[in-house]
């Protein structure tokens, strides 16, 4: 059983003032242990909502149906309390905008340690030790100083690395990164991607959501292409990017400048 995550017939619908909107339309896919899978598509393709629904952080007016098998459980059947035990511990999440994703009034150290204090019941000092290890892993300098700082004192790139660090605190089985490089400038992007490469080499399972094909080309083993709530193509990165089969994929790829490919 070497699938970390198995998604079967997932549907996500939202109740809006204009009626019911289907964001994700009956998709199925698997994520194997240790692979880095890229999920690509335009804005509104449903890629983010897919993973939000997996971890149960959909907005109140959203409803997900289908099967999401993780740890031998269907996540969609679990209640909020059971889900909170899995989030942060077995599944780590990295969000898009590092400038607003960290709590402004808490020190960096506390934002890291609280994860393992609550999930692994570690003591403050054990947690701090782990926090420092994790910050080292994401290549941040002057760690002892860093943990006493507040988010607004750090750059976007640093904050995003801290986000990655937070997701690693409890040695999760799966990390979901939602557009982790989109809000960053190109040089910082490269640095972040290097970190993902490192993680990939350690065989940490990653789901990388992005609309930037270049990013996927660099890091992911396999790719899923989504459009308007459905999966249009999936397969090994190299194969899909070089010999796309579906029209939409071709269209998506045609938008990438030649010299990048």
């Amino acid at each position: 059983m070497n699938n970390i995550l198995e998604v079967k017939n997932l549907n996500v619908k939202f109740d809006t003032t204009q009626g019911e909107v289907t964001a994700v339309n009956n998709i199925s896919f698997n994520i194997k242990k240790g692979e880095c899978i890229g999920v690509a598509g335009e804005s509104g393709s449903g890629k983010t909502q897919t993973f939000f629904s997996i971890t149960g952080i959909l907005s109140d007016n959203g409803k997900a149906t289908g099967e999401v098998i993780f740890n031998n459980l269907n996540l969609l059947d679990l209640n909020e309390r059971e889900l909170t035990k899995i989030r942060g511990k077995d599944i780590g999440f990295i969000f898009q905008d590092p400038m607003t994703s960290l709590t402004p009034h808490m020190k960096i150290g506390d934002q890291l340690t609280e994860v393992s204090i609550y999930h692994d019941k570690k003591s403050k000092s054990e947690s701090t030790k782990k926090a420092k290890e994790v910050l080292d892993k994401v290549r941040l300098p002057r760690i002892n100083n860093l943990i006493k700082k507040y988010p607004h004192e750090l750059s976007g790139g640093m904050r995003q690395r801290i986000m990655i660090g937070i997701s690693l605190m409890c040695n999760p089985r799966l990390i979901i990164a939602d557009e982790p490089t989109t809000a960053l400038d190109v040089t910082t992007q490269k640095d972040i991607l290097k970190i993902f490469s490192d993680l990939q080499k350690e065989k940490i399972t990653i789901a990388l959501i992005t609309h930037d094909i270049g990013v996927l080309a660099e890091v992911s083993d396999n790719i899923i292409i989504m459009n308007e709530g459905s999966i249009v193509e999936k397969g090994k990165t190299n194969k899909v990017l070089v010999t796309p089969e579906h029209d939409y994929t071709k269209h998506l790829l045609s938008c990438v400048p030649e010299w990048l490919k």
């Binding site: 971890t55 952080i57 889900l83 909170t84 035990k85 899995i86 989030r87 942060g88 511990k89 780590g92 999440f93 969000f95 905008d97 607003t100 994703s101 960290l102 709590t103 402004p104 009034h105 808490m106 609280e114 994860v115 609550y118 999930h119 507040y150 607004h152 986000m163 937070i166």
Partner: protein, 309 residues
């Protein structure tokens, strides 16, 4: 921090002087002096009175005398209560008013924030509607309507609470006045807190906190409250101003021997020094409160640097 205090003081003192001047000259503008309502007095006596109260000197001179005395803390003699100085009158009413005011501030802040957070967390449920309903009452039923009604119900019909008088500061005498006084502020603060908390709950960093799998209590205690309370700090001074205003009415309705009562009487009788004195007291208190809210802001929001404006 010292920098902040210093900066505030350098603004506060000139402001206070301006207010003193404003009140002084405004009162002098009023037709008739403090003694014109009484029977006509023989000229020698009138002259003596003018001398005693410095009314015969040029107005700038009068102001100078008044200003220097005030800054030393001497608010002068009351024009109407001839045997008392303003300081004495204020001192007699002060304990009552400060107890009333302080209780009201604390109650308003505590209940207001608590109700606001609860309403936000339980948004669009019965609890939310209930809290917002109470808040609506606080906004739409002015204190001078609410206070008599509450007195009627709890005082007369149910006989539970005294409806007037201070009773030597007994807590029973405080209950109705404090509640009537605080309710409008509780209403406003709970609404602000609710809106602020909702905004915080929708923010990205709370999404992060949720994705960390932290228990809801922890998220609220450590992440939500401190972020949501910031707008309330800005409202602290206006809230107090509102309570000061309200206390004048409440003291009247419940017959409490506080400063507000002296103010109204003084205003109606053109007791210059008394009215100025009370006004200056209120203004100083407010400035002190603005200072406190600045300090609180620096303490609670690490993004605010001390020399930021």
């Amino acid at each position: 921090m010292i920098q902040l205090l210093f900066k505030r003081l350098t603004i506060a003192i000139p402001t206070l002087i301006i207010i003193i001047a404003f009140v002084f000259f405004l009162m002098r503008l009023a037709p008739g002096g403090p003694f014109t309502n009484e029977r006509a007095l023989p000229p020698e006596i009138e002259q003596k009175i003018n001398e005693t109260y410095d009314l015969d000197k040029p107005i700038i001179h009068q102001f100078g005398i008044y200003l220097s005395k005030t800054l030393k803390g001497d608010l002068g003699p009351s024009y109407k209560y001839k045997d008392f100085t303003v300081n004495e009158l204020i001192a007699s009413g002060f304990p009552v008013s400060i107890t009333l005011g302080l209780s009201a501030i604390l109650l308003s802040l505590f209940l207001g924030c608590l109700l606001g957070i609860i309403a936000a967390i339980k948004k669009n449920t019965a609890i939310d509607y209930a809290v917002m309903g109470v808040s609506l009452v606080g906004i739409c039923v002015p204190s001078f309507v609410l206070a008599p009604i509450l007195s009627l119900i709890f005082g007369l019909y149910l006989g539970l609470l005294p409806i007037s008088g201070w009773g030597n500061g007994s807590i029973y005498n405080l209950i109705l006045p404090v509640i009537s006084l605080s309710l409008p502020q509780i209403a406003i603060i709970s609404r602000m807190m609710r809106a602020s908390t909702i905004e915080t709950l929708n923010s990205d960093f709370i999404k992060t906190a949720r994705s960390k799998g932290l228990p809801k209590n922890r998220i609220i205690r450590k992440h939500v409250i401190r972020a949501s309370i910031l707008p309330i700090i800005d409202y602290l001074a206006p809230a107090t101003a509102g309570l000061m205003t309200g206390s004048i009415i409440i003291e009247q309705i419940f017959g409490l021997p506080g400063i507000g009562r002296y103010f109204v009487v003084g205003a109606l009788q053109r007791d210059y020094t008394l009215v100025s004195g009370v006004m200056i007291l209120y203004a100083s208190l407010l400035m002190f409160l603005i200072l406190i809210s600045d300090i609180l802001r620096v303490l609670l929001d690490p993004r605010v640097k001390i020399n930021d404006e």
